[in-house]
Amino acid sequence: MKIKGKLNKLHRANPNGVLCDKSSLNKLRSGETVNVTEKVAQELLNMGFVEKVKEKSKKEAKNG
C-alpha cells in the first residue's frame, strides 16, 4: 500500500515502536511516498501519522 506521511504529525511516531522499517520511516519524514505492506501501512494509518495515497486507475494514468 502506498502511503505518505503527515509531516506535522509523523514526528510523534516512536521509531522503536512501529512496524515500519527505518528506511521507509525516514522517507516518510522527508515527505516521500513509500510502498509498504498492508500491515505496516494500517498501523500508521490507525495512529493518524500517514495518509493513503490514492493509486491512479489505468485510465487516469494513461491520461496523464
Binding site: 503527515k6 506535522n8 504529525k9 514526528h11 510523534r12 511516531a13 516512536n14 522503536n16 515502536g17 512501529v18 490507525n46 495512529m47 493518524g48 501519522f49
Partner: protein, 358 residues
C-alpha cells in the same frame, strides 16, 4: 533448605480489559484467556484488599487475645491499587473514562468532559459500548499466582507534565478502586493463571514540549500565550461502593463529586506580570475565572500523541513564585470550575479504538 526463587520486580505486570458486565470476570472458566492490555508501568504495585477484621479481647480470656475471637469479613470491602506511568494514547483515554465516567467518542477522538451534569453519578447497571466504564484488572507475578480484580474504576487520576521530569513526557498516576473484595469464581479471583495473549504496552507518548497552544486568560486580556515549565491536573471522583450482592460484593458505585484541582508554572513576562492589564495577582484577589488551554499538537486531535486540555480555573491561593536560573516563574494553584456552558475541564485525545475495545 530454603527456596532460592527470586521474583524480579520487572517480572510482575498488570493489564486492563474493559468489562461487558459490571463486576463480572470476562473469562471465568479456569485459566483466564483474556487478551489484557499491558500497562506501561515500571513497577506494578500489588492490589490491597481492604476488608473488615474484627479482633477483640473477650472477657474471661485473661490478658491475651484468643485465636478464636477474631473475625474477618470479605463482604463489603474494597480493593485499591496505585498506578504511575507515562501516559500513552490508550491508557490516557481509558483512565479518563475510568475516573470521569463520561465520553464523547467519535472517529478515534476521545473527549472526556467534567461539567457537573454529564458525568455519571452512579454506575452498576448495564454496560453499552464500553460505558459506563469498568475493567477487569489482571495483576500477574507468575502462573497460578495472579490476582484478577473486577469492577475496577479509578478513584483519582493525576495528569502531569514537567520539562524537567520524564524528559518532558506527560505522566499519569492515581489509584484503582474496586468494590469486589470477596473472591468468587465469577468475579475477583486469587491464584489465577492468565494465559491469554496480552497486548504489548504502547510506545507513543505525549510530549509537553510539543504543545503548540498554551494560553491563559489574565486580568484584562484573554488567551495570552505563556511559557510553561510544568502543569498538573488532579481529578478525584470520591467513588464509594454501595449495596451487597449475593456474594457481598458491590451492587453499585456512587460518584458524589468530581473535584478537580491543578497547578501551573509559567514564566513571569510581559504577558503575565504584576502590572496594569496583565496582573496575575489581581486575578486571585478578584476571584476571577480564567480560561486555560494546553494543546499538544496542532489542536486538531487526529493522531496519536495529541492532547487538548481546556479548563476553566480559579486560583486557590496567592500566585507564588518559583525562583530559578531561568528567572522568575509564577507557581499557580487552581481548581477547575464549571463556568456557564463551559466545562470545568475537557480533555481530548486520539486513539483509533472505541471504549469497548479497551
Amino acid at each position: 533448605m530454603a527456596d532460592t526463587r527470586v521474583l524480579p520486580v520487572s517480572n510482575v505486570k498488570y493489564g486492563l480489559k474493559a468489562e461487558t458486565s459490571f463486576g463480572a470476570g470476562l473469562d471465568t472458566d479456569g485459566n483466564d484467556g483474556t487478551a489484557y492490555f499491558t500497562q506501561p508501568v515500571v513497577q506494578a504495585q500489588k492490589p490491597t484488599f481492604n476488608i473488615n477484621r474484627e479482633s477483640r479481647l473477650l472477657s474471661g480470656r485473661g490478658s491475651v487475645k484468643n485465636a478464636a475471637d477474631t473475625i474477618t469479613n470479605l463482604r463489603g470491602g474494597t480493593v485499591t491499587m496505585p498506578f504511575e506511568m507515562l501516559a500513552t494514547p490508550r491508557t490516557l483515554a481509558q483512565h479518563l473514562l475510568l475516573v470521569g465516567q463520561e465520553t464523547g467518542h467519535s472517529s478515534g477522538v476521545h473527549e472526556t468532559e467534567f461539567d457537573g451534569s454529564s458525568n455519571a453519578d452512579s454506575i452498576g447497571g448495564s454496560i453499552t459500548s464500553g460505558m459506563p466504564h469498568s475493567c477487569n484488572l489482571a495483576y500477574y507475578p507468575a502462573a497460578g499466582e495472579g490476582i484478577k480484580l473486577c469492577g475496577v474504576v479509578a478513584s483519582d487520576l493525576t495528569i502531569a507534565g514537567d520539562v524537567g521530569a520524564n524528559n518532558g513526557l506527560v505522566s499519569m498516576s492515581g489509584n484503582y478502586f474496586s468494590g469486589f473484595s470477596n473472591p468468587v469464581s465469577s468475579s475477583t479471583v486469587l491464584e489465577q493463571t492468565f494465559d491469554g495473549t496480552w497486548a504489548a504496552a504502547e510506545t507513543t507518548y505525549f510530549n509537553m514540549m510539543d504543545a503548540d497552544t498554551r494560553t491563559l486568560d489574565i486580568d484584562d486580556a484573554s488567551d495570552q500565550t505563556f511559557i510553561m515549565k510544568s502543569f498538573s491536573f488532579n481529578i478525584a471522583n470520591g467513588v464509594n461502593r454501595v449495596g451487597f450482592d449475593t456474594n457481598g460484593n458491590a451492587e453499585l458505585y456512587v460518584f458524589p463529586e468530581y473535584a478537580i484541582t491543578g497547578s501551573l508554572m509559567i514564566k513571569y513576562d510581559d504577558e503575565f506580570d504584576y502590572g496594569a492589564a496583565n496582573n496575575i495577582i489581581q486575578d486571585f484577589l478578584n476571584g476571577s475565572t480564567m480560561g486555560l488551554s494546553i494543546k499538544i499538537g496542532d489542536g486538531t486531535i487526529s493522531a496519536e500523541g495529541e492532547l487538548n486540555i481546556v479548563a476553566n480555573i480559579q486560583y486557590t491561593g496567592d500566585p507564588a513564585q518559583d525562583l530559578s536560573e531561568n528567572g522568575v516563574f509564577h507557581s499557580l494553584e487552581f481548581e477547575c470550575v464549571q463556568n456557564g456552558s463551559s466545562e470545568a475541564l475537557k480533555i481530548s485525545t486520539f486513539k483509533n479504538e472505541a471504549p469497548n475495545a479497551f
